[in-house]
C-alpha cells in the first residue's frame, strides 16, 4: 500500500476558477464543562430527565415533522421511555438504550399501521392519525 509522506497544499485558486465547495463552518462554543473531579462525584446516581422532545426515529425512510414528546421513568433496573400520544414504549438499561428502542418501535408501528390502515379499530386509527401528523415518509 502506498504511503503518503508529504501533504501539499494546492495553490490558492483564482477568481475565475471553479471552486467545489466554499461554505463556511459554523463553530460551536463549549458552554459548560464539569471538572474531572466533579464528573467522578456526579455519576453516583442515574440522572433521568422527566421528558424530552424527540426529533428523529432510527429509520431512514421516515422523517419527523412534529417532535414527539417522550417521558422517562425507572422500573427496577430498567429505564422506560414512553411516547404517551402513540401508546408506545421503549426499554433499556439506560436512557440511550430506552430511547433507541422506542425509536425503533415507533418506526415499526408506522409501517405496520400504514399496511393495515383499512382494518384498524378506533384506538389504532387514532394512533395512525397522530403518527401521520408527526411523521412523514421521505420521498
Amino acid at each position: 500500500m502506498a504511503q503518503v509522506t508529504e501533504i501539499q497544499r494546492f495553490p490558492p485558486q483564482k477568481a475565475d476558477e471553479e471552486v467545489a465547495h466554499e461554505r463556511d463552518f459554523v463553530r460551536g462554543v463549549p458552554a459548560g464543562l464539569l471538572s474531572l473531579e466533579a464528573a467522578i462525584i456526579a455519576i453516583l446516581d442515574l440522572v433521568l430527565p422527566d421528558e424530552i422532545l424527540l426529533g428523529t426515529v432510527r429509520d431512514g425512510r421516515l422523517r419527523v415533522r412534529v417532535p414527539i414528546r417522550v417521558r422517562f421513568r425507572r422500573e427496577d433496573q430498567h429505564v422506560v421511555a414512553e411516547a404517551a400520544e402513540l401508546d408506545e414504549f421503549g426499554f433499556g438499561a439506560n436512557l440511550s438504550e430506552a430511547l433507541a428502542d422506542l425509536q425503533d418501535a415507533i418506526g415499526e408501528l408506522y409501517f405496520t399501521l400504514e399496511r393495515e390502515q383499512g382494518r384498524l379499530g378506533p384506538d389504532l386509527r387514532r394512533v395512525w392519525t397522530v403518527l401521520q401528523q408527526k411523521l412523514m415518509r421521505r420521498l
Binding site: 460551536g28 463549549p30 458552554a31 464539569l34 464528573a39 440522572v47 433521568l48 430527565p49 419527523v64 440511550s96
Partner: protein
C-alpha cells in the same frame, strides 16, 4: 425539523483556506485509556439539512451509564433554505472520562433531540 445527516468525533476539523473544503482529522469512536479517570480533547463535526430559520443548537456530552451531562456546547445557526446544508463543528477542551464505558454526544436543536454518536472508553491492554 432539521435532519442530522452526519455526526462524527475527530481530533480536529479544519477548512482548507484555498477551497473552503472541510477536512476532518483523526476520526475515531474508541478511546484506549491507560488509567481512569482521564481527560481527552475532541472535536464534533455535524452536517444538518432540511432546516429553515433560526436554530439554537446544543451538543451534550453524556455518560451513558449514568445519564449525567458532563459537558455541553452551544451554537446558533441560521438556515435560509431547506435545500441547503450546514457544516458545524465544536472543538471541545479536554473532556472528563471518569470511567470505562460508553459516552454519547447528543445533538439538540431548539430543545429537540436530533440524534447523536457514541465514543467507547476502554482500558488499554498492556502488552506482554
Amino acid at each position: 425539523m432539521p435532519v442530522l445527516v452526519a455526526v462524527l468525533i475527530c481530533d480536529a476539523a479544519v477548512a482548507d483556506p484555498s477551497s473552503g473544503k472541510k477536512n476532518l482529522i483523526g476520526i475515531f469512536d474508541q478511546l484506549n485509556v491507560a488509567r481512569f479517570p482521564t481527560q481527552w480533547p475532541v472535536t464534533i463535526y455535524m452536517k444538518l439539512t432540511d432546516a429553515e430559520g433560526f436554530y439554537k443548537m446544543e451538543v451534550r456530552y453524556v455518560q451513558v451509564s449514568s445519564g449525567q451531562v458532563l459537558a455541553k456546547a452551544e451554537l446558533e445557526s441560521q438556515f435560509t433554505s431547506r435545500l441547503v446544508s450546514a457544516d458545524l463543528f465544536v472543538p471541545f477542551p479536554p473532556l472528563p472520562v471518569p470511567s470505562e464505558g460508553r459516552y454519547e454526544f447528543q445533538i439538540w436543536a431548539n430543545e429537540v433531540y436530533l440524534g447523536g454518536t457514541f465514543m467507547n472508553a476502554v482500558q488499554r491492554k498492556t502488552q506482554g
